[in-house]
């Protein structure tokens, strides 16, 4: 399942789509922290280039399946305004083996942060909000960085 949604991410329903017969299911969830760079964060806003982000999720799933033979990978990402503690992203991998499921989750979240066109704006108590500038690697550089 690949999903970009402005609704609360329901982790139980995501897990119900995992192939439990596989033996191992690993999940990573990113949640909104109450601080960033020493400042108190009150809310976040995610903006997404949705069709390209979904395509990137499919690409990441293909990479993960090729590298670790996991049988299932789902990626769900929020957009819009999020409160502290809410889930911004959930990655779930199902595999016959635990190491592969966990490695697939770690790889997928790294790749999302490198190639998925999604932007985070942080809001503080007293400011307008600032777009966080994260990864700007060229696609070719990515290929090297992530060739592990």
């Amino acid at each position: 399942m690949f999903l970009i949604t402005n609704l609360t991410i329901d982790i139980a329903s995501i897990l119900s789509t995992a192939h439990r017969e596989d033996g191992a299911v690993a999940t990573f969830m990113g949640t909104v922290r109450d601080h960033s760079g020493g400042r108190s964060v009150t809310a976040l806003q995610y903006s997404v280039y949705a069709p390209m982000a979904l395509k990137s999720f499919e690409q990441i799933a293909d990479e993960v399946k090729a590298k670790w033979g996991v049988t299932h990978l789902s990626i769900v990402h929020r957009f819009g305004r999020l409160k502290v503690g809410e889930i911004s992203v959930a990655v779930t991998a199902g595999s016959p083996h635990r190491r592969e499921a966990l490695a697939a989750c770690a790889y997928a979240i790294d790749r999302i942060k490198t190639i998925s066109p999604i932007w985070k704006k942080e809001f503080y108590n007293d400011l307008e909000g600032i777009w966080v500038e994260g990864c700007d690697a060229s696609p070719r550089e990515n290929a090297h960085v992530h060739a592990y």
Binding site: I115, V132, E133, D136
Partner: protein
Amino acid sequence: MIVHVKLFASARERAGADQLELDLPINADLFELRKILNDQYPCFREMTGRWAVNLEFVPESTRVGAVDEIAWIPPISGG
């Protein structure tokens, strides 16, 4: 030829628009597009980012046409 450049996040806010319309020479590449963008919208001169064409990251040497979906991707921060 007329092309449209989709904007997001900080670039969208600085330009004050979801997308920009530009008139490019036939067979122009993204390097030429960037020069025209910088001339017409000075706020772009300082911006870092990547190009995406038809939902894929591409190098600046890529030639674009009127039917291509062109997007300017500022540094991403999802996850």
